[in-house]
Each structure stands twice: as structure tokens, then as C-alpha cells.
Amino acid sequence: MEIILFLVLLVLGYCFGLLAERRHYRSIIAREKVMNSLPAIASRYPPEDKPYDQQLVVGSVVIGSDYFKSFLAGLVNFFGGSVVSYEGLLDRARREATLRMKEQAQKAGAEMVFNVKYETTSVGNSKLASVEVLAYGTAMKPVFAPTPSAAGEG
């Protein structure tokens, strides 16, 4: 009985995990294509060509593993090696967090996000892991200050 339950969980985990991953990737790629117009840059040195208002923007996501992926990861842990079954999970989490951060920047009217950094932590217990990825950076909002000629000197 227990072995049947285990196999059912494994198959369900695989099918639903695969479906969720495919659907998420489709959404990520489509949104990335749009959001590429608002670059996220790792550099700490923002452009100085014009004045910018700066604002902290944060994007965070928690993505859960499935039974199949966790079981496969556990087996890999037995022998050692790359835990490839979690790679997709982390890749999706990083990209989703970046997208959410950019969406926040876009709402704030920013042109780009600078000094982008990532933090990650595992959520939940060791049996069924979830991962949180947090992306944050400095959103650069152009300030439309009056030009010196328009302001005049006297």
C-alpha cells in the first residue's frame, strides 16, 4: 500500500511539477521580452548624464519544489553531484524576482534599476523544500529639472 502511495506521489509530482514549470517559463519569457526595455544593471555606478531620483525596489518570490524533484535531489545527495532537478526551480525564482522588481520600478516611473543584488533562502522543511529569491536594486527615476537657459540668470 505504501509503495503505491509513493509511486502515485512521484507520478503526480512529476506531472504537476512539469506543467507548472512549463507554464511559468512561458510567462517569464513573455514578460522578460517586455521588461527588457527597463534594464536591470549590476553596476554600482549609476549614470550621471542627467539628474535622477533614486528609490529602492524589491522583487521577491517563493517557489516550491515537488515530490519528484525533492526525491531526485535526495537521491543525488546520496551519491553527490549536481542537483540538476533544483536548477529550474532556482532559475525561475531568480528571473521571477527580477521581473517583479522591474515591475515595481516601472510603476515608479524609473528608466532603469542599478546595483541589482540577489538574496536567497530556503523556506519550509528539508522534506519538501521551497526557495525564496529576493532581488533588489536602486530604481533610477529621471528628474525633469528646468534647464539653465529656461531658468535664466536674472
Binding site: M1, I3, F6, L9, Y14, I29, E32, K33, M35, N36, L38, P39, A40, I41, P47, D49, Y67, F68, K69, S70, F71, L72, A73, G74, L75, V76, N77, F78, F79, S82, V84, S85, E87, G88, L90, D91, R94, M112, S126, K127
Partner: protein
């Protein structure tokens, strides 16, 4: 001129390795199962071999220090004497080594069981005794348990079982992932049970030789397994029982008895020796 910043769509598959997860899982699972099976087999053989070299006196001395009485304090003296006498009678045909002293005990619990443990202690439960139709059937049980002691099965099982189970627990404990640990532990346990079943079969064979020598025929020797079969059918045994049982299947034990009798041309019929008249009385009435 100011710097132009842009994000280009990154190519897919850089941070995610393309692989067939199902194939990956099957390969790793097969490797892990083979590894555990080999480990358990090696450690069982080794552990049992080492354990069997421990002198029997050590076993006895060890059990003397354990504060546990196998015998029921209320065991009727007549029953105790009868069990002792029967084990002596059957034991004569089992070639019991001189240093081995058997301790026969009665337990009034209603379990359908009997077992042999360290220090030559053999315990018979009321539940089993009361379903014995004649002495021949009981003698087979007695001979079977004595054979376990002679084969040093209790200590060998402990040595082999403990070492392999400890190794599996240590390995799966570090592997993490509850389900993986469970699958690998189950693999270890199932492999482990094949050793236990082999011990049972060896004890059956030795017991049957003793029964043939004691009574001149083996009639009634398979009665125990027939009774067991009925008992299990009543309880509704699951199809996985063959894998998860410490004992061989009853049908195959009955077959093995018949095969052995045929090979040695032992008579399978003969007069059955009745149990003592007071037997039911000793057990406090069969109905309870």
C-alpha cells in the same frame, strides 16, 4: 556621449541543465538499490560469521545479567516438565553440542508464536500450544526452535542484522529527504529478511530430520504450517507478505517438507502421538 544600458533576452538552457529527469531518477535509484543490497548482503554474512564465533558461554553469561524472566511465574509444573522432557527427547536427535544448555519457557500470552533467543532460551506461547492437535506437531515446533539455537541463529541474526541496519541507517540518515531514506531503508530490510528466511528454512530441515528420528515417520510435522496458513487466511494476508515476512511462505514450507521426505524416502504417515491428557488443563482450557 552617455553610456547605453540594455538588457537583452538571455539564451535559455545556460543555468538549467537539459536532462531527462525520469531517466536520471531511474539510474540513480537502481544504483542506490544495488548498493544497499550488496552492502546488506556483505555485512550480514560478515556480521553473522563474526557473531557465530562468540562462545556460547558468553551468550549465557550475557543473558544472566539481563533482568528478564522468559517464563511465566504461573507456569503449571506439569507443563514445564512436559516441555522440558519433549525438548530433551527431540534434542537427542538434533546433535546438541555439549556446552549448549537449553532453557525451555512457557508464556501464557495468547500469541500464536514461539521463538528462540540468546543463551539457549526457547519460549512457547499459549496461543500456539493450544492449537497443537498432537505431540508430533508440537515436537516439530520444539525441534525447529532448538535448531535455531544449535545453528546460533539468534546471535548471528543480531550480529548480521544490527551491523547492516546500522550501516543503512547511517547512510540514509545523511542522504536527507525523508522519502529517499524510507525507500533505501525498506530495500535494506527486504534484503535482510532473505537471510532470516534462509535461517528458518535451515531450522525446518534440521527439525524434520529430528522428527523422523524421534518418531520413525514425519506425519503431522507440517501441521504447524497448515494451522498457520488457516490463521493467516482468516486474517486476510496481503500480497506483499512474501517480501515482508521474516519466515518463508507456509505453502513453500509444506512443499519443502514433502520434498525432503520424498528425497529421503521417509514415511509420511504413521501413528500420531497424542498430547498428555492434562495438556488442555495446563493451558487453562482451550476455549480461552
Amino acid at each position: 556621449m552617455s553610456i547605453q544600458y540594455e538588457n537583452r533576452q538571455a539564451p535559455e538552457g545556460v543555468n538549467v541543465t537539459r536532462h531527462n529527469p525520469v531517466l536520471h531518477l531511474l539510474k540513480l535509484l537502481a544504483a542506490a538499490v544495488v548498493f544497499i543490497v550488496v552492502l546488506v548482503i556483505v555485512l550480514n554474512l560478515l556480521g553473522a560469521k563474526i557473531a557465530r564465533t562468540v562462545p556460547f558461554e558468553v551468550e549465557t553469561a550475557l543473558m544472566d545479567r539481563v533482568d528478564h524472566s522468559f517464563s511465566d511465574p504461573g507456569t503449571p509444573p506439569g507443563l514445564q516438565a512436559y516441555l522440558y522432557e519433549l525438548s530433551e527427547r527431540v534434542g537427542e536427535n538434533l546433535q546438541i553440542p555439549e556446552e549448549m544448555e537449553m532453557q525451555v519457557h512457557y508464556d501464557s500470552e495468547n500469541e500464536f508464536n514461539a521463538y528462540a533467543t540468546l543463551g539457549g532460551n526457547v519460549v512457547f506461547y499459549r496461543g500456539l500450544l493450544k492449537s497443537m492437535p498432537h505431540e508430533n506437531a508440537l515436537a516439530m515446533v520444539v525441534a525447529h526452535e532448538l535448531a535455531h539455537v544449535i545453528h546460533r541463529d539468534p546471535i548471528a541474526g543480531l550480529g548480521g542484522g544490527m551491523s547492516s541496519m546500522l550501516a543503512v541507517a547511517a547512510l540514509t540518515g545523511t542522504a536527507g529527504g525523508g522519502a529517499v531514506a524510507k525507500v533505501l531503508t525498506t530495500t535494506g530490510t527486504i534484503t535482510q529478511l532473505s537471510f532470516s528466511r534462509e535461517m528458518e528454512s535451515a531450522a525446518d530441515r534440521a527439525a524434520l530430520v529430528a522428527i523422523q528420528k524421534t518418531y520413525g515417520h514425519i506425519a503431522g510435522a507440517d501441521e504447524l504450517f497448515k494451522v498457520l496458513q488457516i490463521e493467516k487466511e482468516r486474517e486476510g494476508e496481503s500480497w506483499t507478505a512474501g517480501f515482508s515476512s521474516t519466515h518463508p511462505q507456509d505453502a513453500s514450507r509444506i512443499e519443502a517438507i514433502a520434498r525432503m521426505a520424498k528425497e529421503n524416502e521417509w514415511p509420511t504417515t504413521g501413528p500420531l502421538t497424542p498430547l498428555p491428557d492434562e495438556f488442555t488443563e495446563w493451558l487453562g482450557g482451550a476455549g480461552q
